[in-house]
Amino acid sequence: MSESSAAATPVQDERVKEISGFRKALIRPELGSIVGVVAVFTFFILTAADSGMFNSQGIMNWSTVSAQFMIIAVGACMLMIAGEFDLSVGSMIGFAGMSIAIFSVTLAWPVWLAICLTFALCVAIGALNGYIVIKTGLPSFIVTLAALFILRGLTIYFPQAIERRTIIGGIDDAAAGDWLAPLFGGEIFQGFFVWLADNGLIATFERGTRAGEPVVDGIPMLIVWAIGLVIFGHVLLTRTRYGNWIFASGGDARAARYVGVPVSRVKFSMFMFTAFCACVFATCQVMEFGSAGADRGLLKEFEAIIAVVIGGALLTGGYGSVIGAALGALIFGVVQQGLFFAGVESSLFRVFLGVILLFAVILNTAVRRVITGER
């Protein structure tokens, strides 16, 4: 357009109400999860401060659990923003773990090869989920529900058929000396923790074979993966063109398609990313435990989705935040472990999940109304 158009004098429209900074801050997707994190920490600092929850070991304990939730929440979050669900995450975790165990222990292949093959297999299954959803136009809920049962069934069938048991151990022995395994099962900054212990900043073991060593001997790779994936997801979503496409695909696939956004490709890639995240979770878990069990990852798909919803994402897609989902995962980890430290019956964790989910959904719906101006 040329300079002939109306001189750019910003005239205040009398019908546009000024919005306060406070109200603006309210309509961030992360709002609910930030409030939740503050509330949860306040609660446990008041009730469980002297239980060891906030010493170095305690912090490492709930950080590790939170990091597990975070890894799968990042994938679920991006997929939900792109407008789809994946209910097969939990089964995928069991399947991936068992796949590593069978390749490395039963078949005695090198662990690095087992890990690489498992990643390829999981991402391919994620791609298949995506392909079916996109080609058939069926709700991803149903397609991935089918995958949930198929994968879980196979995870129980294979070890039984091959080894006549449902838990395969000995992966830690197989992984000794492997070059890839430490990327999932190792720890970093060990020197730093030794230094902390030497300077009396963290406790050391007083007895036993490890006397003198710090009680926390490094940051597990699980936490490194979680932080890495959160940063990757957040930057991809908010700072890149592809992120804009993810929002657009979930917000209104047809509108996005009409302006040239490759919606199918975006959704397809997000299904693969979710499977990748599940596989990272499984690999870290298998390396930590040294074994794979057919019941691993049970209900994880729902926990991932709840963390994402607490993080402010809308179930209908097109809106959400990876940081919010990460905070949702942190709430989970802290509460699940906090209840243990506070000596509360752990079954109450499920009650908490249900209640907080309900609150989060109600809050999100209200926020959505404010944003879209729906009445």
Binding site: M1, S2, S4, S5, A6, A8, P10, V11, Q12, D13, V16, I19, T238, R239, T240, R241, G243, N244, W245, F247, A248, G251, D252, R254, A255, A256, R257, Y258, V259, G260, V261, L314, G318, Y319, R368, I371, T372, G373, E374
Partner: protein, 262 residues
């Protein structure tokens, strides 16, 4: 009817069949730069199918598309957009949950390279969005305002500004005024006029004769998948247009019984 310059877009005998249904049975129009070409027709006349063929959503079963004199084949909307044909859909123009600036650059995000990675250049996007909106006469609270908070007319204007900014040579507007109030309609019609003065060809789809006559230079009426003819401004009266759209007799009878208010 002779024009001094060649048509920028010419659709020749376009046919489109969906299975056994013939949606378009030979539709031809010519669109010129700096003109507003109104495409009129009742519901089911084939207007939507026709513009979707123009914008690359559908591929014609038969017929030719000439763009700037060359035969063109659009496999998908991206091809058409790259050639310079932009379409603003009535209800699908914008994504309400996303900010104006994210919507404005949807599919055409500006990028800034930091090291080996390309990032979405939000600073440029926000600045351009605010400038373009002000030019169209809309004062935004900020570029991060969600599109959902805009009125229907404002959303259409954002979509039109977006198309113009990205170098549309032909702008197709699918019933931009059908869901709007009087004031908002006037705003959209004024926007169409601004766009036309920038030497862009506008194809304005509507079934409202008054809206068409307010800005149109040329009028083509579609009925039952066929062109009933093209008229220039001043050659046709509102009544004649209305009658052509309705396909004749029944409406005349109805109009008499209603006292001429349709």
């Amino acid at each position: 009817m002779t024009s001094t310059h060649a048509a920028i877009l010419e659709m020749r005998d376009i046919e489109k069949h969906f299975g056994s249904v013939i949606a378009l049975a030979g539709v031809s129009i010519e669109v010129f730069r700096g003109e507003c070409h109104c495409l009129l027709g009742d519901n089911g006349a084939g207007k939507s199918t026709f513009i979707k063929t123009m914008s690359g959503v559908h591929q014609p079963t038969a017929g030719e598309i000439l763009f700037e004199g060359h035969p063109m084949h659009f496999d998908d909307p991206r091809d058409a957009i790259e050639a310079g044909i932009a379409t603003v859909y009535q209800d699908l123009a914008m994504i309400p949950l996303m900010s104006v600036s994210r919507n404005f650059f949807m599919g055409n995000e500006p990028q800034k390279r930091i090291g080996p990675i390309k990032f979405f250049d939000h600073a440029t996007a926000n600045q351009v969005t605010m400038a373009e909106m002000r030019r169209m006469g809309i004062n935004l609270r900020g570029p991060d305002q969600a599109v959902g908070t805009l009125s229907g007319g404002e959303r259409q204007t954002v979509a039109i500004a977006r198309a113009v900014h990205f170098g549309a040579k032909v702008l197709i507007l699918d019933e931009p005024t059908s869901a709007l109030g009087v004031r908002q309609t006037a705003n959209v019609l004024a926007t169409i006029d601004k766009v036309r003065k920038n030497d862009i060809a506008v194809v304005f789809i509507t079934h409202n004769v008054r809206h068409a006559l307010a800005v149109g230079d040329r009028f083509t009426v579609l009925n039952r998948g066929k062109t009933l003819g093209t008229a220039q401004r001043g050659q046709i009266t509102p009544d004649e247009l209305q009658e052509m759209m309705a396909g004749g007799q029944e409406l005349v009878a109805l109009e008499d019984s209603l006292g001429g208010t349709v």
